[in-house]
């Protein structure tokens, strides 16, 4: 699969079947084509096309001036991207894996997130940092971190993550067009998941959550790699007689209160699901704000189905670590159904 091949299969009417990796590749190709100021760089993104082939064919198609490999230093990649953005370019950079973005943490936290604010808006940093994140692919240590909470706690950054090929395309295009710096988290284990969809980025998705599956009894809140797990759990729960609504957050920061709060106020029950560890994970924010905003609507406490509070395990143990359909179903069962029944009976 090459970027060009992808582009050839594109027709105004027909909806191609694409993987998330291909959709991301297309988004980069289209952005490079539509906007002369867009650059793509990082480690192994040019000749190799990225270790996940997301940048495959781009250097050949757009030249080494716009798609190029850098020396091996993440803080240099982000730091130089900041300088390029100060000079009118729109860098889209890749961190090869989640844990390998940590050398860039200072540049991201102290500059990327703050320069626009620091200069009263004089300096804009329309930079996208693509980070393949999460586990479930049998990767060894440092290749499976879910590091979203480090970024969502940092004001000035947008943090988005697609769960489907269609959203991968739309979110990445919109992230590139966005005047704010965007941490773009790509769920590794969904890179090869397919969807038949027309790739289009006109409908705004970058700061809006979406209801992936309507339901009335409980709201599952997921994103990135765990959406699929949540949808599977919802189907099984249906068989147990629970009508489950599933929300895909897409934008982790800012958080779409309207969509999520409306759902939870309707269902009265909610479970947040993510691959990151539980303690001070992103789910804590979701549970905390929903507990506050939906206090009088809640039939049960908001539960979190997350990874364990441990470093990411070795491949042969990761299945014990990650949120599973079973754990989501268990959580649904713990949502105090009988108690409400009695409450409802009593009331």
């Amino acid at each position: 699969m090459t970027a060009l091949a992808e582009r050839d299969t594109r027709t105004p009417t027909g909806a191609p079947t694409v993987t998330m990796a291909a959709a991301l590749n297309r988004a980069l190709a289209d952005a490079l084509r539509d906007d002369e100021t867009v650059l793509v760089f990082g480690e192994d993104v040019a000749a190799l096309g990225g270790v996940f082939r997301v940048t495959d064919g781009l250097a050949a198609a757009f030249g080494e001036a716009r798609v190029f490999d850098t020396p091996l230093a993440e803080s240099g990649i982000v730091g130089t991207a900041i300088g390029m953005a100060m000079n009118g370019l729109r860098p889209v950079v890749e961190m090869q894996f989640d844990a390998f973005a940590y050398p860039a943490f200072e540049q991201i936290t102290s500059h990327l997130a703050k320069l626009h604010n620091r200069t009263r808006g004089c300096i804009s940093l329309p930079i996208v940092i693509r980070i393949p994140y999460g586990g479930g692919i049998g990767g060894v240590e440092h290749h499976c971190d879910s590091s979203e909470a480090y970024y969502t706690h940092t004001a000035g950054l947008r943090v988005v993550t697609p769960a489907t090929p269609g959203d991968a395309y739309a979110l990445l295009r919109q992230a590139i067009d966005c005047p704010d710096p965007v941490i773009f988290l790509e769920p590794k284990r969904r890179y090869w998941s397919k969807e038949t969809t027309v790739l289009d980025h006109t409908a705004s998705v970058i700061d809006q959550a979406i209801v992936r599956r309507p339901g009335t009894d409980v709201t599952l809140i997921a994103y990135g790699g765990t959406l699929r797990t949540a949808l599977d759990a919802a189907d099984e729960a249906q068989e147990n007689g629970h009508s489950v609504e599933v929300i895909d957050l897409r934008s982790l920061s800012p958080f779409d209160d309207d969509t999520v709060t409306a759902s939870v106020r309707r269902t009265g029950r909610a479970i947040v699901i993510h691959e990151a560890s539980r303690f001070c994970g992103y789910g804590a924010e979701v549970a905390a704000r929903l507990s506050e905003q939906c206090f009088h609507y809640l039939e049960a406490p908001i539960l979190r189905v997350t990874a364990l509070d441990i470093p990411y395990p070795p491949p042969h143990l990761e299945q014990h670590h990650l949120p599973s359909v079973d754990r989501i179903l268990d959580a649904i069962n713990r949502l105090q159904w009988c108690e409400t029944a009695t409450t409802k009976a009593a009331g």
């Binding site: 730091g79 991207a81 300088g83 100060m86 200072e106 540049q107 200069t119």
Partner: protein, 377 residues
């Protein structure tokens, strides 16, 4: 856009990359011209201009220190004693070039044309950066050490990609050279052959830590060869030498010659900031030694000897410096109240709904306080 890979230079020539063992100089400490094989004495007008900026810069610096005593500045890191380095480097830049300064370099920023009050808004505590970086092509003063170096490389690389004739000069301290970002920036600039000048002011200390505990290298300029970048060691109290070295580096970068690393040997006369107590870590005798190598008297002596200045011109200049200081004092003594609404305006291009909520809450709180205050009257 030009290709990046074309830029990768062939393995560099060892000789060209190593600094001289003694610092390059054009003026001796007592202001006598020194013959140099590698640097040309700048023109008379340039030297007169350097002296003028150094005098104005020093007066600005002492005024800023004074403002901390009056509580008008939260803190001020003085560049006193570093005037030759601060001014010599900035004077060598062209209008289309960019300066990436640190917290230490207010003097350089003002010499570049930034309004002194705007330059001090950061240290007054009203906002993080008081000037528009694009107005004079001066990046915000950088506090996290060495992190401005990759920014300079990125900006310069972008200029090359866009076919602009722009060179970026980044200022670094001796201590900052120990941070990873200095390494990263030097390496990216070398591999990309970016038009960047790395200007290291070795003023002897990183707060309390002397250079001997910062590096064991023959000189900081010796780091250049490890990246394929020419390294120059310059007498940082010789404004003529600093100007000539930086000017040469700027021209070379503009001609596609790539980056240069310049170490300017100088000395921090004041404590790290007004809040610091230098007596804890360095002997006064050392300071006195460097006071005898004062950069301003050095060039002044030369100008007088060469008849490029006379007593009248000198006192006129001192008067001008006094007037500027007076004006700065007056404007800094005006009380300012930054607008709390600014807290929310610039976090993102458009405030998020959550930020608008927080802004409304704060506005309500402030109204309430105002009412209470009103009731008290």
């Amino acid at each position: 856009m030009t290709s990046v890979t074309d830029a990768v230079p062939s393995r560099a020539n060892q000789r060209r990359l190593l600094p001289t063992t003694t610092p390059l100089a054009l003026l001796s400490p007592d202001g006598q011209p020194v013959h140099s094989t590698s640097l040309d004495m700048p023109g008379d007008d340039v030297l007169v201009g350097l002296h003028r900026q150094m005098v104005l810069g020093r007066r600005f610096d002492t005024q800023a220190t004074a403002l901390t005593k009056q509580g008008r500045l939260a803190v001020y890191p003085s560049a006193r004693g570093q005037e030759a380095a601060e001014i010599g480097a900035v004077a060598a830049l062209r209008p289309q070039d960019w300066l990436f300064p640190t917290y230490r370099d207010s003097m350089a920023i003002v010499a570049r044309g930034v309004d002194p009050v705007e330059a001090l808004i950061l240290l007054r505590g009203d906002w993080h950066c008081g000037y528009d970086p694009y107005a004079h092509r001066v990046a915000p003063q950088c506090t996290p050490l060495a992190t401005n170096a990759p920014h300079a490389v990125g900006l310069a690389h972008a200029a090359r990609l866009k076919g602009e004739d722009t060179v970026a000069l980044v200022m670094l301290g001796d201590g900052a050279t120990s941070e990873g970002d200095t390494h990263t920036a030097l390496n990216f600039a070398a591999v990309w052959n970016s038009p960047v000048v790395f200007f290291v002011q070795n003023n002897g200390y990183a707060i309390s830590v002397p250079v001997a505990k910062q590096t064991a290298a023959p000189s900081l300029a010796h780091k250049g060869i490890g990246y394929g970048i020419p390294g120059l060691l310059v007498d940082g109290n010789d404004p003529a030498a600093v100007y000539a070295a930086v000017r040469g580096a700027v021209e070379s970068a503009a001609d596609g010659g790539g980056p240069t690393l310049i170490e300017a040997l100088t000395y921090r006369i004041e404590a790290h900031t007004n809040a610091d107590d230098a007596a804890r870590y360095r002997p006064q005798a050392e300071v006195r030694e460097w006071l005898d190598r004062d950069p301003v008297t050095r060039i002044r002596q030369y100008l007088l000897d060469q008849g490029l200045m006379d007593a009248a011109a000198l006192s006129a200049l001192d008067a001008e410096a006094e007037a500027q200081a007076e004006d700065l004092r007056r404007r800094m003594n005006i009380d300012t109240v930054p607008d709390p609404a600014d807290l929310f305006r610039f976090v993102y291009a458009e405030p998020t709904p959550a930020l608008r909520r927080e802004q409304r809450q704060l506005a309500a709180e402030l109204e309430e306080l105002a009412d209470e205050a009103g009731e008290m009257r």
